[in-house]
């Protein structure tokens, strides 16, 4: 069994959203895009009771729940083997769930099997409401039948509660981001206890022997000569106070089995070195304990034919990169299903593009789409190969931003990156427009001349895409192409007439022409006349010379006027890309007849810059 779909309503920052999961899914996205919310939603619905945190007003979307406000989390469980309700009485019968049929291609559910909806599925839900008299959240887990008339908190509600046994059957195990690793391999750890219980219970005899030894130590502490005097005095005091013998003894544990189990501390020993407790090792080793234990637990469950769903938040936080890959590959093999959240390109690179789910949260509306609908195959276009294979790390880090900018070619992307560096290094602390570009806008290294195809591929993934085209004839053609088709690009920015990125660079430099005289630039023999700079940068050699580009950017950093122009360029792009109004007169908008596209033209005659 696995979770194939999750619907969230009114939980934390997600007003509504839907996520589809494959057997192996890595959720990526900007901060605050809702990755943790998705993980916690799964934990609320499918975690064991202990995992269910106490909910407060802040867990409700908007933080101010009224009587009718609800949190509703619905998971669709599929992957029943065999795919027939007659074999799953615990899930599908009167008094339990109603069978539905899941269409893996569309993610839709149908009340009866169809040619597309082929997978038997059960929908289960978690609901919460906030009681204004007790100031507590009330929660319920139940079988979810349909979208209407289903308030589980209504008087006479017909909802059927979800038995805990079915939740256990799913075997969801969560490794949250805020974990403490050092006691994982001890009885203080839930996972360890679970694993021990699973293989057949506590080592009872060893525990009892150890308990007895701890009750009667060979050398009791209270008899040590340095303590004996103090202990004797305490005993005398107690006798005076209570009028009877009450002797103090000092034991290492509570002298019961529980105390022994609690006191167990994992140690790890490398050859020729003393054993060290887990917490004395580097993060690498102590977090790998969990890796070992998890995979052991998973393979135990798998060997017995039980379900095992792994949910790991940001493995990159604690696990070193070489083990990240190993951990994920291992999990992929061991778990029935693994769902992982991550910020890390290394972690993301373990998954195929169709397993990477990009989450974007725009004022509460969550969109979650895989980078590709299906596995990439040999018929994939050059654009797809570039976006999702050769340049995947760059694509993934770009789409993790709240807004995405698709320029005409990859030199535009690299120049914009340099502009970002200039902005980060020269930004004034009080600048109201700030360096929003670098953390709000991700730039795609577009394969040259493929802006339209790139846009179409990414539009399915990311809801906030802006395209950037040159001010030439080709740029006009792209602009026309992007404004057409089934889903036209909502925002297209064009450089001024006749301009390409090199003209922008030259314009930036022109703010202080002395910039080209910088000593580091001497070997490149830049034209002395700033008016010739653009043409020079467009010449074949200079256009591709990224060392020259970097050196020129460093020179720009040193010139206040130039760097100010660079920042201005970015702030205009960032404002448009994130849907905010750009500074007045910095760009001219023109609404396209399709009713969707706004075409912006950058204005280089901006006063004061």
């Amino acid at each position: 069994m696995k979770i194939v779909r999750l619907d969230i309503d009114g939980f934390r920052g997600i007003q509504n959203g839907k996520v589809l999961f494959g057997d192996f899914a890595i959720l990526i996205g900007a901060n605050n895009s809702g990755k943790t919310t998705v993980v916690e939603a799964l934990a609320l619905l499918l975690g064991r009771e202990r995992l269910v945190r106490h909910l407060t007003e802040h867990d409700f979307f908007g933080s101010d729940p009224v009587a009718a406000t609800r949190i509703k989390i619905v998971a669709t469980i599929s992957g029943f083997a065999p795919n027939d309700p007659a074999h799953h009485h615990d899930w599908f019968r009167q008094g339990r769930g109603v069978e539905k049929w899941f269409d893996p291609a569309s993610g839709d559910l149908h009340p009866a099997a169809t040619a597309q909806a082929t997978d038997l599925a059960c929908q289960i839900a978690f609901g919460a409401c906030f009681d204004h008299t007790t100031l507590e959240a009330e929660t319920v887990r139940y079988f979810y039948d349909a979208a209407h008339d289903d308030d589980p908190f209504a008087d006479d509600s017909p909802v059927v509660p979800l038995p805990i046994g079915l939740i256990k059957e799913l075997g969801l195990f969560l490794v949250p981001a805020n974990r403490t690793w050092d006691r994982m391999m001890s009885f203080g750890s839930d996972l360890f206890r679970k694993t021990v219980a699973y293989v057949g219970g506590n080592p009872a005899e060893a525990v009892l022997a150890e308990r007895n030894r701890l009750r009667n130590p060979d050398q009791p502490l209270e008899e040590d000569e340095k303590l004996a005097a103090l202990v004797g005095e305490v005993n005398d005091d107690l006798k005076t106070l209570f009028g009877r013998e009450i002797d103090l003894s000092l034991r290492l544990t509570t002298t019961d089995s529980e105390g022994v189990l609690d006191a167990v501390m994992p140690h790890f020993q490398e050859p020729g070195r003393p054993p060290l407790p887990g917490r004395r090792h580097g993060n690498g080793i102590i977090s790998l304990q969990t890796l070992v234990l998890l995979t052991r637990f998973g393979s135990l469950r798998k060997a017995r034919g039980d379900n095992f769903i792994m949910l790991i938040e940001e493995p990159e936080l604690h696990v070193p990169p070489p083990q990240q890959r190993k951990l994920l590959h291992y999990l992929k093999k061991m778990a029935t299903q693994a769902i992982i959240t991550s910020h890390s390109p290394t972690v993301s690179s373990v998954a195929d593009p169709h397993q990477l789910v990009l989450m974007v949260n725009r004022t509460g509306a969550l969109s979650a789409n895989p980078l590709l609908k299906s596995p990439i195959d040999q018929n994939a276009t050059a654009v797809r190969r570039s976006l999702f294979l050769t340049e995947r790390a760059a694509t993934v880090s770009a789409v993790m931003h709240p807004a995405v900018l698709v320029p005409e070619g990859k030199f535009d992307a690299s120049w914009l990156r340099l502009f970002g560096r200039i902005a980060d290094l020269t930004e004034l602390p009080a600048d109201p427009q700030g360096a929003t570009f670098t953390h709000e806008v991700g730039v795609i290294p577009t394969k040259d001349a493929r802006i339209d195809e790139t846009y179409r591929d990414l539009a399915m993934v990311h809801p906030a895409i802006t395209c950037l085209v040159d001010g030439d004839g080709a740029g006009n053609n792209y602009k026309a192409a992007l404004s057409g088709g089934a889903s036209p690009c909502p925002r297209v920015i064009q450089w001024p007439n006749g301009w390409t990125i090199e003209d922008v660079v030259a314009w930036v430099c022109a703010a202080d022409a002395t910039v080209v005289a910088h000593a580091d630039l001497v070997p490149y023999a830049l034209p002395a006349n700033i008016g010739d700079l653009a043409a020079y940068l467009k010449s074949d050699g200079a256009k591709r010379d990224e060392i020259l580009h970097g050196t020129l950017a460093d020179a720009i950093v040193g010139k206040a006027g130039c760097s100010r122009r660079a920042r201005h360029v970015l702030s205009v792009l960032a404002a448009i890309a994130t849907g905010k109004p750009p500074p007045a007169n910095s760009a001219a908008p023109l609404a396209h007849a399709n009713g969707v596209t706004i075409q912006w033209t950058f204005n280089n005659a901006f006063p004061g810059i």
Binding site: H89, D90, Q94, E99, P111, A112, T133, D156
Partner: protein, 421 residues
């Protein structure tokens, strides 16, 4: 496998045989731990009595669930409303709900979903299965072991066309039960047998059919009740309520005369749900828009509030705190009142103090040692229906039955004399 059917007159032990053969079925083919026997019947009262009977049966105790057909239908329809919507099934009143449920159950996936929990289904009083409800049972029959008890003659609803049921019933494996176990009193047995053939019932041991002058009638009724030992009940057919109320009033005062000295007798009218609901809704105006607190104030004006009114108020308060519903229209409140009255009836015993005074419909499938039937003028329906009503009244009795008619001319009419006979 065809379903099993048991057919026979009142008191012939249909329910008993039904349970017995379900027990045999379970012995041959035990239930899985999560499975139960589903017992379906019509009214909340008969559901409760069926439930009691199931609990007292050692083979079925803890392994059965009794439900009214209507609430079963609502449950299935609620859970499968996605499919119902996809099939565009009409829902609304109970008939439509049952019909929609039947249509759903005709889809094997739904029937099997029910049968995975309830592989054995028994239906009591199946003669009342009008087509929408019959559809439910006949859709389940191919997938479950179904056991049905019925006596067509006991169908008291002229609106119900029993034809489709009888036709379906022929398809089962039917056992005819002819021996009456409830009573061995000759007068009662003969009257029952006569009425089934639309022949006049005759006075005999245990049975008296009499007319008394209006002034005498309360005394004779009081004496009959007062002298009887065991469980007693006073029954009346439709149109008999006013006379029954008047008699109840007289008896409650005690009766004194040279020949009689009868202490006060309390006849407890078993209220019908619809009367209770009407009484409660009388304090609410059509255009009223009430808060839960105002609803409580209005209900406080009721002289004799039904026992379920507190549940209505607490449900309204619950809706305010849970759903932010602050005001109720009269129509919404009526819906809530009806739900609460029904669920109260479903789970609360109607045993009150005093001797039950109830309509013949309400008395169905109950039994008493001594029964008094008050037969007024103007009982509606055909001769056939009147015979059925009287039959149902007389067959409630184990030891004695006294039928009092309000006018002596009534003795010359059906069901006391039949023109055809």
């Amino acid at each position: 496998m065809p379903f099993r059917g048991f057919e026979g007159p009142a008191g012939s032990g249909k329910t008993h045989r039904l349970m017995e053969s379900v027990g045999e079925r379970l012995a041959q083919q035990p239930l899985l731990p999560h499975q139960k026997v589903l017992a379906l019947t019509f009214m909340h009262g008969s559901r409760r009595r069926l439930d009691e009977e199931l609990r007292s049966n050692p083979q079925l105790r803890g392994k059965s669930v009794a439900m009214t057909i209507d609430s079963f239908a609502l449950q299935v329809l609620t859970r499968w409303r996605s499919l119902a919507a996809a099939l565009d099934l009409a829902t609304g009143d109970f008939n439509e709900t049952c019909n929609a449920c039947g249509q759903l159950l005709e889809h094997p996936q739904v029937a099997l979903w029910v049968v995975r929990s309830y592989p054995v289904i028994l239906v009591d009083e199946a003669q009342e299965l009008a087509p929408p409800r019959l559809r439910i049972i006949s859709a389940l029959a191919p997938h479950a072991s179904v056991f049905v008890a019925a006596d067509e003659f006991q169908c008291l609803d002229e609106e119900v066309d029993t034809g489709p049921f009888l036709e379906w019933f022929q398809g089962g494996e039917i056992t005819q039960l002819n021996h009456i176990h409830r009573t061995a009193v000759a007068g009662l047995l003969n009257a029952g047998a006569n009425l089934r053939q639309l022949a006049a019932p005759v006075n005999g041991p245990g049975l008296r059919i009499d007319y008394f002058f209006p002034n005498l009638a309360p005394f004779r009724i009081g004496a009959a009740i007062h002298q009887a030992q065991g469980t007693r009940a006073v029954l009346f057919p439709p149109a008999g309520r006013d006379w029954a109320d008047a008699i109840a009033q007289r008896l409650s005062e005690g009766l004194q005369s040279p020949n009689y000295n009868i202490p006060p007798i309390r006849l407890a009218l078993e209220p019908r749900a619809s009367d209770e609901i009407a009484a409660v809704m009388a304090v609410v105006g059509v255009a009223d828009l009430l808060s839960p607190a105002q609803i409580a104030e209005r209900f406080a004006q009721l002289e004799n509030p039904p026992r379920w009114t507190p549940q209505v108020i607490s449900a309204a308060l619950h809706s305010m705190s849970r759903q932010g519903k602050t005001l109720w229209t009269a129509a919404e409140l009526r819906g809530l009142v009806e739900r609460k009255a029904a669920s109260f009836r479903a789970y609360t015993s109607d045993r009150g103090r005093g001797i039950p005074l109830l309509g013949i419909h309400q008395a169905k499938n109950r039994q008493f040692d001594h029964v008094v039937i008050l037969w007024p003028h103007g009982v509606p329906g055909s001769d056939q229906l009147k015979a059925r009503l009287l039959y149902n009244g007389i067959t409630r009795a184990r030891i004695s039955c006294k039928v009092l008619v309000r006018g002596d001319n009534l003795l010359q009419q059906a069901p006391f004399v039949f023109n055809a006979a």
